[in-house]
Assembly symmetry: C2
């Protein structure tokens, strides 16, 4: 394919993409197929000679689209939002075309520098403390990671490195691995699995701090645990949480989803205490209209995180060494800050705030619908775009309801567990979700609930009839079930 | 920006991208600016209200392009190739538009399944042993990682996990951290820094095995080191190399750049011995026309690598659990296999082989030019697209030559170190590099060499004149320099 053909095919692709996104709500949001479906639809080997472009695009509808869970359908309420906007898509095309691999300043100065400045812009939008802003001579600053998992891992590794150095200054005979075996990290028992994973990768112990009735870690629970561990000869060194601490530990705050909301003054208080953190992370690729991947991470001291991996071979050395630096697990990286630049400028801060506020209002709208129905309950305070709810009743009942929802393929939800209870998560995800989608989703859920409860009611009626007519004995039945 | 405007702007962007790539050779390949150049060119905060799209695109030329190192210029011979092709770019647009986050099978079945099948296609193109192919019931299989660094880290972590389990089966009283402190990984002293980094992250010792005169690790050097370490009570568990071993160690083979060439039968012998490896990795995003990021990794036993991180929270559980799985450091991931699919089909195996062969021929052409000039020497056998060469003479001389080349901005090279010698690396990078670019690059290098040597000659002549006329004494001069 030469540039000429690319011009033609590229423009067709733009139309295809626009058409897909405009009409995605007409597709079933969740695929109806079994694992392994794809292998039988395409050859088992690559073609020897080129195929036609038309055939490939035909296969998009034949092979790929039936297997897509449509994250940008306004009927997708599962997991968390995957941000998407047209300006971000245009910027991504540019990033792909420029195709520089930004592993050092010299490898493409604009790539490194725009990233630092965009993270300053974003940090200011969030009103982060000055200590996190790079500016021209700050010690802190931001960097784009692929995902929050990588940010968590990087912060844990930096903390580990710092802890080892600190311990070695007063006990110089201890080896690094010896110190590793005494380090303990802490996180909330409600935290994302990526924290546990980071500790596993870094080869350090991790302890889960119990949460209170609001699913939040209380300072005294953490403190108690830390005291116990110190008494047992261990070295507390890292906490991934939402609380301050004074224990010489690195504190990382992960607000992967919620972080975007902090650009609105009314939600910013949720970030209070950030001044005590050493590092902070959230994902613009979740809720700030910047397509995946773009996870924003700030640290107070850049040298902490760069120092954790200082080993630059000759081919990465250049005259302006200090301007780049490796803040990530991967060495190479795309020119991702272009997406931030385009989105910030095309929306403006006010446009981004409007997006967040609209989605929070939609969540509140759904919450009211749930609260108005006596059969249901809300399971956690609705603060942003996530509504946790369930049918009053057993976990099995709610599992059955979710199964009906999933199989219907009209809307898509996933569950979570809160204090041992099976809970349905309803998240406002797609940029294009409107009130009518919320209303229709609720109508659909209540219709499926009616069907589910109707079946149960009929079954109960039959059993009641059999029981009063001595055709059935509940005790015998229980025995039958357990056979 | 709505769909209508996106259709218009998207088509303009396609033209911009085509124009950029068609004419990139007319831009200076390396930027002429100082670190920090960008900050003063743009505001220090994000705009409150939306800006116009025209202004943003104007800034592409004003702010961004002057700071780009043009990796796709045919005069770019630095680092390694960053693959790029039009079919991959089109596929990337699709991937962005679909925007699914593929962390499990259910999160988008097509994303998980196409990846497995494409890695089978690619594995067959490389004639990998059957044990690496997933098929419908194989134990092995492939996965796309972001970079080779991540693949190396994943293989090391899987090996660490396996080693701990093995040791614990015969010494059940040993704790995990205790075992960690005895594990040793090995790699070639010539290996990429990512191996050392992976060991650092994983908290295990690493030893560098010396190489022979061909910069290759010899089996007996490794064996000797392993025996020493075992005698010292350590546990050898991982080797990242290009050689077989029989020591119960995990062997990972990283062929980040070279791997693409193995689709040509004449280069495939370079991969002999792969049957002894546990995992293998190379980067289609380097040399196989698939834009970054796309690093292909295969393992013989998928369970080894999935088992290293088994911790699935409820929101990731679904009925077809085993079809997905976390083989990566990040949890979320883009739909990257679409790029492979488009490229394999639009080029066909023969088209990809032709690309590799053409670039190897260009490297050979450059090698001949170097060999024909008595002032230069070739420093390592030219096997694929990389030519290591230098001026016969001191490291300083070669450093000066490289500095002249870098400052001229007509071509771009980076150095490496081989046995303490400063060497210039000339890599065939851009897809569009032709013979005329090679000829012109060489002409440019010899011109700069002439200028450099001319200055030196003049200086020597002056000094000689002064010396014979007793105006200058070399011994005094040496003293002056050291003052």
């Amino acid at each position: 394919m030469d540039a000429e053909e690319f011009r033609r095919r590229g423009k067709e692709m733009i139309d295809y993409v626009a058409e897909y996104l405009e009409n995605v709500e007409q597709r079933p949001v969740y695929p109806d197929l079994e694992p392994g479906y794809l292998r039988s639809l395409i050859p088992s080997e690559a073609p020897l000679e080129p195929e036609s472009y038309e055939d490939i695009m035909k296969d998009m509808e034949r092979v790929i689209m039936p297997g897509i869970t449509h994250w940008h359908s306004p009927y997708f309420f599962a997991y968390f939002p995957a941000a998407s906007s047209y300006p971000a898509m245009l910027a991504d095309m540019l990033s792909t075309a420029i195709g520089c691999i930004g592993f050092s300043w010299a490898a493409s100065p604009a790539c490194t520098e725009l990233e630092t400045v965009m993270l300053d812009w974003l940090g200011k939008m969030l009103q982060l403390p000055e200590s996190f802003i790079a500016g021209t001579d700050g010690q802190g600053g931001g960097v784009i990671q692929g995902t929050a998992s990588e940010a968590t891992l990087m912060s844990l590794l930096a903390a580990r490195c710092k802890a080892v150095r600190r311990v070695q200054t007063y006990t110089s005979d201890k080896s690094e691995v010896e110190i590793f075996s005494q380090l303990v990290a802490y996180t909330s028992e409600q935290a994302h699995s990526s924290v546990e994973r980071a500790a596993l990768i870094g080869g350090v112990m991790i302890r889960k701090v119990p949460t209170d009735s609001n699913y939040a870690v209380r300072g005294d629970s953490l403190k108690k645990m830390v005291e116990e561990d110190k008494a047992a000869g261990l070295i507390p060194f890292y906490v991934c949480a939402t609380l301050g601490n004074g224990e010489n530990m690195w504190m990382h705050i992960d607000a992967a989803y919620a972080g975007s909301a902090f650009i609105c003054p009314e939600f910013r208080p949720l970030l209070n205490g950030i001044e005590f953190a050493d590092s902070f992370n959230f994902n613009p690729h979740k809720w700030l209209l910047v397509n995946f991947d773009c996870s924003a991470m700030w640290v107070k001291k850049r040298t902490d995180i760069i120092g954790a991996f200082k080993m630059d071979p000759l081919y990465l050395k250049h005259e302006n060494q200090e301007s780049g630096g490796h803040w990530q697990i991967p060495l190479g990286r795309r020119f991702r800050s272009l997406k931030l630049w385009f989105v910030f400028r095309m929306y403006g801060l006010q446009g981004l705030q409007a997006h967040i506020r609209k989605q929070v209002a939609l969540a509140k709208e759904f919450e009211s619908l749930v609260r108005a129905d006596k059969r249901f309950e809300i399971c956690a305070e609705v603060v942003l775009g996530l509504v946790c709810f369930r049918l009053k009743g057993s976990n099995e009942l709610n599992q059955n309801l979710l199964k009906k929802i999933t199989n219907s393929r009209e809307i898509h939800l996933v569950p979570c567990q809160l204090s041992g209870r099976f809970v349905l998560r309803f998240v406002i995800c797609a940029r294009t979700t409107e009130s009518r989608h919320i209303q229709q989703a609720w109508q659909h859920i209540t219709q499926l609930t009616f069907e589910l409860l109707d079946v149960l009611r009929s079954a109960v009626k039959v059993l009641h009839f059999m029981h009063v007519n001595e055709l059935w004995n509940p005790c015998e039945s229980a025995m039958l079930i357990h056979k």
